[in-house]
């Protein structure tokens, strides 16, 4: 039952989350902006369209949207969402999270190469490079958090009494949150690492990989990336805000408020910064890694 409530939450709220970001960006640009529900309309439109496939492609190309969506749906089950505890939690579930994302990434890259054209190849190559750095950042933060909570289960690493220990390990947690926020931007192809809005640009990463997908396939991929962003934000919130299983309504409000805050933060970052030049992206990611590493060092130093 818990599984389905989780999925319902991510299915309903994830596109909304993207809608909020778009709204914030529109606000900063001085525009009215599309409706909050525009992502839903987009998805509905895509699900009704038919697909076009390239002669070059094989089954890999068609399987990828399914694999990506399945991977993020599984990932969603590992993360607590407000009052709803993670349905799937066990010691070491962080490896399942990391490797299921890796599986999706592998198929994403080979599907891009499957189209047999240099644009998609470019995206694939960049994804492969930046994901190396992202994975290191992810594990660096996991190490620090696991040391703080003495557990390697995602739910207990980010939940429990962690927010209450801000007094004790404020420095560590600020470093972790900073590092993780950059990771969210990088993993989900947001500015300043990648631009989700432009198409046909030589500088993009994520969008150029899915250039050849259309119809239902593209819908699946867009849904998957929305859910991924939502779930990553869902990992960040319990580190900052205390969610204690006492009052369910209260928890839900805190969770939703936190999500809103993260989406607004992402929107503000996207509106106020420019996309980094491609050869500068790794510097930003290295900064995130350094933040994570200093978090670890401070944690070790304070004992």
């Amino acid at each position: 039952m818990l599984i389905f409530s989780h999925w319902i939450i991510v299915f309903l709220l994830a596109p909304l989350f993207v809608g909020v970001i778009a709204k914030v960006k529109a606000f900063f640009a001085g525009k009215k902006g599309p409706s909050l529900f525009q992502p839903f309309f987009d998805l509905q439109r895509l699900f009704q369209k038919d697909s076009v496939y390239s002669r070059t492609t094989t089954w890999v190309f068609r399987a990828v949207p399914i694999i990506c969506l399945a991977a993020v749906l599984l990932l969603a089950l590992l993360v607590p969402l407000g009052p709803f505890k993670a349905p799937l939690q066990f010691t070491g579930d962080i490896f399942l999270a990391a490797s299921i994302l890796g599986l999706a990434r592998f198929f994403m890259i080979i599907a891009a190469l499957d189209t047999g054209y240099s644009f998609e190849g470019m995206g694939a190559s960049r994804e492969a490079f930046f994901s190396c750095l992202c994975e290191m950042i992810l594990f660096m933060n996991f190490i620090t958090l696991s040391l703080a909570q003495h557990s390697i289960s995602l739910s207990s690493m980010i939940g429990g009494n962690l927010p209450l220990s801000w007094k004790l390990w404020g420095t560590v947690l600020i470093l972790v949150v900073g590092s993780f926020f950059i990771l969210i931007l990088a993993e989900n192809a947001r500015i300043p690492i990648d631009d989700p809005d432009t198409h046909l640009e030589l500088t993009m990463i994520h969008e150029v990989k899915i250039l050849d997908h259309s119809g239902v396939d593209l819908g699946f991929l867009l849904y998957a990336s929305a859910i991924k962003l939502f779930v990553f934000a869902g990992i960040l919130i319990p580190i900052i805000l205390p969610i204690e299983p006492v009052n369910k309504v209260m928890d839900m409000l805190i969770f939703l408020g936190g999500m809103l805050a993260v989406s607004i933060a992402v929107g503000i970052v996207e509106s106020t910064t420019a996309r980094l030049r491609l050869n500068r992206v790794n510097h930003l990611l290295l900064i995130a890694f350094a933040l994570g590493f200093f978090g670890f060092v401070v944690k070790m130093w304070k004992g």
Partner: protein, 606 residues
């Protein structure tokens, strides 16, 4: 579960004593599975050579190698072990130089032979130190004798260097990327899958005999693991030749095994038997897994090479349409080697990760730092391997053929070649989805290696997460099925149309514009160019209508170019200078020997 087999054997200090224990069991199973699969594959693979080359001789050495491998893992006596070790090394040399008319192949063979004997030289010293400590050549008796700490440290170092040559520890690996691609594919599978594992077996056997070591040994192995893993996969990324890439990947996997062994050693020296069993067990499982998936990958690569008559990845492309079965089998191997869920690599990497995290929690400060380094390195290796194999799969099997279509029609891939690959892929899937048996055996081996009692340890702490993990993976499969059904529902009313790839309005497109293996890896290699000595050369394009241009990129192996080549170059010069002292008469040499004998006699008379 220890069994002995004794037989009389009239060799000084030697005895024909075989011993079967959990450690040898794991290696034995890996050896037998891979030898059989590669052997069956060879029936199909060698067919085109049947009338042109001495295939019989090749098969003879293959069988000798098989026998030597089996004797090595069972040997319970130093002399027997070293004898089988030499037979293995020499027969592998004859297998490598199958195409001996090519100078590259001959060079690779000799490089291998020299490296191998340098290693054996250290091994002889090591074993004699051990034997002199206990007064016997029997492994059992050696293991019962207590080792003084200094001697244990020296033996450990000798083992790391001596066996490390065979295992391919960086910087002793330089023979490996030359020898493995030079050999026929089934031989590469055996060399990479099990022969280099004999180095790991040797280290394990020595660790078992010495018992508890000081903790610097564990740290050393962990550092070696990190170095091998990261450098191995980076070098692999820089390769354009399929089998050479796979050979470098073996170094990475040996690094992962070394990480596991390092964790195990740390657990042993800090008296944490659970940690020791986790580390050793993870390492042993990875040894087995690597034998399976690397064997599969080399066999599949052999099939591709037989079809295309080239190993250059940048001249391939679109092979999935030409050979669909092989492409799926290669994909299984690729997913397994990247440690992705569903397949066996995931299980052993998970156990090693788990051990490293246990190390972070329970080891003293320096242990925490080194284990954290290990985790980060393992994460980096995982994604770099992912980049590497998505590159291989994408450029070899997907996209458009980069050469004209007619040139890809080599020999048909016979059933003899397909069945062994299917069996190996089946093993990958079996361990990936039902890991309990294999992991249980690996932990048994780990417990044997760390002299711990498995029943007293909280093994449920690792088995229950493993079960949950498999539950998650099965859920993922169910999700994939549901979503596939949903997609079919959505698409039912809408016929999917087939067209060209969207080229962004650009009309004159050729397959050569696709990303190649070199361009795909460029970003990563550029990032690491300081340690990889990554070079790209492209002449400046001149004039308004440039006619031809070329670009080449290469990664040079630091240890080969800047360590071994200068040192051995100096040694060669030195030996040239010593040439003067050589006397060109056999009679003179005989006289020297005679004089030497007289001196010995006189010395003995006194």
């Amino acid at each position: 579960m220890e069994k002995y087999f004794q037989s009389s054997w009239h060799v000084p200090f030697g005895e024909f004593s075989l011993k079967f224990d959990p450690l040898s069991f794991i290696f034995l199973v890996a050896v037998i599975i891979l030898i059989l699969c590669a052997g069956i594959y060879a029936v199909g693979y060698m067919r085109p050579y049947a009338s042109k080359r001495p295939v019989g001789l090749h098969i003879f050495f293959y069988l000798v190698l098989s026998l030597a491998l089996i004797v090595i893992v069972l040997a319970n006596n130093v002399i027997l072990f070293l004898g089988a070790w030499e037979i293995m090394s020499v027969s592998a040399f004859f297998l490598v130089v199958f195409k001996d008319e090519e100078s590259d192949v001959r060079r690779a063979g000799f490089l291998y032979l020299i490296a191998s004997h340098c290693g054996t030289f250290l091994l002889i010293i090591m074993f004699f130190l051990m034997a002199s400590n206990s007064g016997s050549m029997n492994f059992d008796i050696i293991s019962h004798a207590p080792f003084p700490p200094v001697l244990a440290g020296v033996i450990f170092l000798l083992a790391i260097f001596g066996f490390g040559v065979k295992a391919g520890f960086i910087p002793l690996h330089i023979w490996l990327p030359h020898a493995h691609p030079a050999a026929p594919s089934h031989v590469s599978a055996v060399l990479s899958g099990v022969m280099i594992k004999m180095g790991i077996y040797g280290i394990c056997r020595v660790l078992w005999m010495i018992g508890v070591l000081p903790d610097w040994c564990g740290y050393l192995l962990l550092i070696i693991g990190v170095l091998c893993g990261v450098m191995g996969v980076l070098y692999a990324l820089g390769q354009h030749e399929l089998k050479r890439l796979l050979a470098y990947h073996s170094i990475e996997n040996i690094g992962i095994v070394a990480l596991g062994l390092g964790v195990g050693l740390l657990g042993e020296s800090h008296r944490m038997p659970f940690l020791a069993v986790l580390g050793f067990g993870g390492a042993l499982l990875h040894v087995f897994n690597h034998a399976i998936f690397k064997g599969l990958l080399f066999l599949a690569a052999g099939a591709v090479i037989q079809k295309t008559h080239t190993g250059e990845m940048d001249r391939m492309g679109g092979m999935a349409k030409v050979m669909p079965l092989v492409s799926i089998l290669f994909l299984i191997g690729a997913l397994a080697i990247c440690g992705l869920p569903l397949f066996n690599g995931f299980i052993s990497e998970f156990i090693i990760y788990f051990g490293l995290f246990q190390g972070i929690f329970h080891l003293p400060l320096q242990g925490t730092f080194v284990c954290a380094l290990g985790i980060i390195a393992l994460a980096l290796m995982g994604t770099l391997a992912l980049a590497c194999f998505s590159k291989v799969y994408g450029t070899v099997f997907l996209g458009e053929p980069r050469v004209p279509k007619g040139s890809q029609l080599g020999e048909r891939i016979s059933l003899w070649m397909c069945i062994p690959m299917i069996v190996l892929a089946g093993f990958c899937l079996w361990i990936g989805l039902f890991p309990r048996t294999a992991a249980g055996i690996a932990f048994l081996g780990g417990a044997f290696l760390s002299h711990a009692d498995l029943l007293e340890l909280p093994m449920d702490n690792i088995f229950s997460p493993l079960t949950c993990m498999i539950g998650g993976v099965v859920l993922f499969l169910a999700l994939v099925l549901i979503l596939t059904y949903l997609r079919v529902l959505f698409l039912k009313a809408l016929p999917a149309s087939v067209s060209e790839t969207w080229r962004c309005g650009f009309s004159y497109v050729t397959p050569r514009m696709q990303y190649t293996s070199s361009s795909f890896a460029r970003l990563i290699l550029d990032f690491f160019k300081r340690i990889l000595f990554y070079k790209r050369t492209f002449p400046q394009v001149k004039g308004f209508f440039p006619q031809s241009a070329s670009m080449s990129s290469s990664v040079s192996d630091f240890f080969e170019e800047f360590l071994f080549k200068p040192v051995f170059g100096k040694l060669t010069n030195l030996s040239r200078k010593l040439d003067i002292s050589r006397i060109r008469y056999t009679q003179m040499y005989l006289m020297y020997i005679f004089l030497y004998l007289i001196i010995l006699l006189v010395w003995k008379l006194k």
